[in-house]
């Protein structure tokens, strides 16, 4: 068997693939953050809590209406997205002209409230949620056993990431959006309802977080603190990719997943830290991030 750095190559392929799967969660979450920051200039610190809300919504939908994973994948993001729209209308819309710090503090406070409420009603241990029947089992790839659900996670994540990138960078709607961030007054003069567009964008970003939450429910512990644990890493991903850069968020999300996966083989103790080390290096060399537009 061929060995690379003392690790059998087959094992290494397995680890690379697993890194890619974790990367798809990072990509999905950092994508939502990038969309919100790029279009609204809000650092959405409640993103982790909204990811958690997505997973909880999936659980509640199953409990109270008996609808399983597939309907939840559509319904939960819509519900959580609507709560995002309400938050934008009630609070965020007053903050656009102020410093970034205000939006950050507000959303951080909201995250604490959401997590506190969830803990109060559901406890801290977590809630059960299983892999849908149709995606149980897996494929033997020769070098590893790939669960069907994980394959689906990569496919769905790639699809959603590419779709979002395409809409924002390559369609007329996306062009309006980008123009509205640059110069809202001018875009309004063309008869476009800019505030509504911004509201819907925030709703969409939040829905992306909830979508990732539903995707995570069958494989990770569904608990009130699930988002808080992930969000710091995701912020590091966004900073490395460049704040507000959609493509940057996607590429670094997948890339860092792979790097983290490899760290888990060679030096497992450092696997939670490696992303922050990379962040520090990137900030030293390219303060605007790898794909940042503003230097």
């Amino acid at each position: 068997m061929v060995e690379i750095f003392g690790i059998p190559s087959t094992a290494l392929f397995g680890q690379l693939l697993i890194g890619l799967i974790n990367g798809s969660f990072y990509a999905l979450l950092s994508l939502g953050l990038a969309v919100i920051f790029g279009m609204l200039n809000i650092i959405n610190f409640s993103h982790g809590a909204q990811y958690m809300m997505g997973a909880f919504a999936a659980y509640l939908i199953l409990q109270y209406s008996g609808l399983g994973y597939w309907p939840a994948l559509i319904i939960a993001p819509i519900i959580v997205g609507i709560t995002g729209i309400i938050i934008e209308r009630l609070f965020l819309q007053w903050l656009y002209k102020l410093d970034h710090l205000y939006g950050l503090l507000l959303t951080f406070g909201l995250a604490l409230i959401f997590e506190g409420v969830a803990r109060n009603y559901f406890g801290s241990a977590g809630l059960p949620y299983t892999v849908p029947e149709s995606l149980r089992g897996g494929q033997n790839l020769g070098f590893m056993f790939l669960p069907n659900y994980r394959a689906w996670v990569i496919a769905a994540s790639l699809l959603v990431c590419f779709g979002t990138w395409f809409v924002i960078e390559r369609t007329r709607l996306g062009a309006y959006l980008r123009a509205a961030t640059e110069n809202p007054t001018l875009v309004r003069a063309f008869g476009i309802n800019v505030p509504r567009m911004i509201t819907l964008t925030y709703g969409f970003g939040v829905a992306l977080a909830a979508f990732a939450g539903v995707m995570a429910a069958p494989v990770y512990n569904v608990s009130p603190q699930m988002g808080a644990e992930l969000i710091i890493v995701v912020f590091a991903v966004v900073v490395i990719g460049g704040m507000g850069s959609i493509l940057g968020a996607i590429v670094t999300g997948f890339g860092l997943g792979v790097i983290e996966g490899l760290t888990k083989v060679f030096f497992p103790e450092a696997s939670n830290t490696v992303i922050f080390v990379i962040m520090a290096i990137v900030l030293l060399v390219r303060p605007a991030g790898l794909f940042g537009r503003r230097a």
Binding site: R119, A125, V131, R150, P218, V219, M226, E229, G261
Partner: protein, 403 residues
């Protein structure tokens, strides 16, 4: 007439005064994690268990008046210490009970000794509490790391699980659990093929599981807790670890974790506990009362919460016998003299090092098809007798024993 009334009033006053002189007042503080990681293991459920213990005790002993307060240590030793100091000095608390999180428990144990009060640990795991760090004011009630390691480790090796791979949380608790379990495995003729130390709060375990899978070990020992254990088992089910013939050994798994996993995912998991709600009628009856008190019909008490009930009951018995709670050391000495006996843990005793001993149970999580009602989690595989369940007295290096 007036004179008679006056006399009568005096007599009543005297009688009451007499009764007051007999009456003992005790103040109990449940110090727990009320808002975070361990709040389902102890938390409000422990406070509810304490309330039940007090209500039961008051029926037989109306002359002992018990007050109850509770507080949140937020898993921070500094906050726990500050609360303990305030409770002992300002609020005149006589007993602190529960306290999951070994770091906080070790700090509170020290404070309790300097203030000469009583500390009953139900929630924390570190066996150091009755080892090098033992105290004449502290009793370790429900379980500890040695018992978990020995119970699960030994039983699995004896039933054929003789090769192990560890997934260990990379901090003091995980290392201790790994060390104790490795010792138990090797002592019984098993072999440890490898281990991975993962950071605390790891989200994705699939990478570590691949390593465990390729080690071909029969048993994957999870020397971690809470969310980490749940994430590892969830990923394990997905990657077909159990179907592939390997087995998980949860070295610290609570009923609340099994509930969070769901039986579909957790089935076949082997673990050790000292109390299970569905073991006998007394436990089931108590569970119903606990659920009513807690206001949570769908929740099931953990061994930690049951331990709070049992420990507090025994403490109150000792106080009633002494007719005073003032001298903590004397109360603990009395608790060690009196045999323990309550509805949940049955008959038992407390050793010189402060270790409460009772049987432990090796449990296996049921398959969904075997589970007949909510909370029907385990098959009892074996009972480990009280004298084998805990670390032998002389191996603990507790100064109270040698001196």
């Amino acid at each position: 007439m007036r004179k008679t009334l006056g006399l009568a009033a005096l007599a009543v006053a005297l009688a009451c005064g007499g009764a007051n002189a007999q009456q003992v007042t005790v103040k109990v503080g449940v110090l727990s994690d009320m808002s975070s990681l361990y709040s389902d293991i102890g938390g409000a459920g422990s406070a509810a268990a304490a309330k039940l213990a007090i209500a039961d005790f008051a029926k037989a002993n109306p002359n002992v008046k018990v007050e109850l307060i509770s507080g949140d240590h937020q898993n921070k030793p500094d906050i726990g210490s500050q609360l303990a100091n305030q409770w002992y000095d300002v609020d005149k608390v006589d007993l602190i009970i529960d306290t999951p999180n070994s770091g906080v428990a070790l700090a509170v144990s020290q404070i309790t000794a300097t203030k000469n009060k009583v500390f009953i640990v139900s929630g924390a795991a570190a066996s150091d509490l009755t080892g090098p760090k033992c105290s004449a004011n502290t009793i370790h009630w429900t379980y500890d790391t040695w018992m978990l390691a020995n119970g699960t480790g030994k039983a699995l090796v004896k039933t054929g699980g003789d090769t192990w791979f560890f997934l260990t949380a990379d901090y003091a608790f995980g290392h201790a659990l790994e060390r104790d379990t490795m010792a138990a495995v090797e002592k019984n003729g098993g072999k440890v093929l490898g281990k991975v130390r993962h950071p605390l709060n790891t989200n994705d375990f699939s990478s570590f599981l691949l390593q465990a899978q390729s080690s071909k070990a029969k048993i994957i020992g999870l020397a971690n807790a809470g969310g980490d254990t749940i994430n590892a088992i969830k990923a394990g089910a997905e990657f077909g670890i159990v179907k592939g013939g390997q087995k998980f050994a949860g070295l610290l798994v609570f009923a609340s974790d099994v509930n969070a996993l769901g039986l579909q995912t957790a089935q076949g998991l082997t673990l050790t506990e000292t109390w299970y709600w569905d073991m006998n009628d007394a436990n089931r009856a108590w569970t119903k009362r606990w659920q009513a008190e807690r206001g949570a019909a769908g929740k099931f008490p953990t061994m930690v919460q049951a331990g709070v009930y049992s420990g507090l009951t025994h403490y109150l018995k000792a106080v009633a016998a002494l007719k005073s709670a003032a001298d903590g050391k004397a109360v603990v000495a009395e608790m060690k003299t009196l045999p323990t006996d309550d509805a949940l843990f049955g008959k038992g005793s407390i050793r010189a090092d402060g270790r409460k001993v009772h049987p432990a149970y090796l449990l296996e999580v049921k398959a969904p098809s075997e589970s007949k009602y909510p909370g029907d989690f385990y098959n009892v595989r074996a009972t480990i007798p009280a004298d084998e369940a805990f670390r032998p007295l002389k191996e603990g290096n507790c100064p109270l024993v040698s001196g």
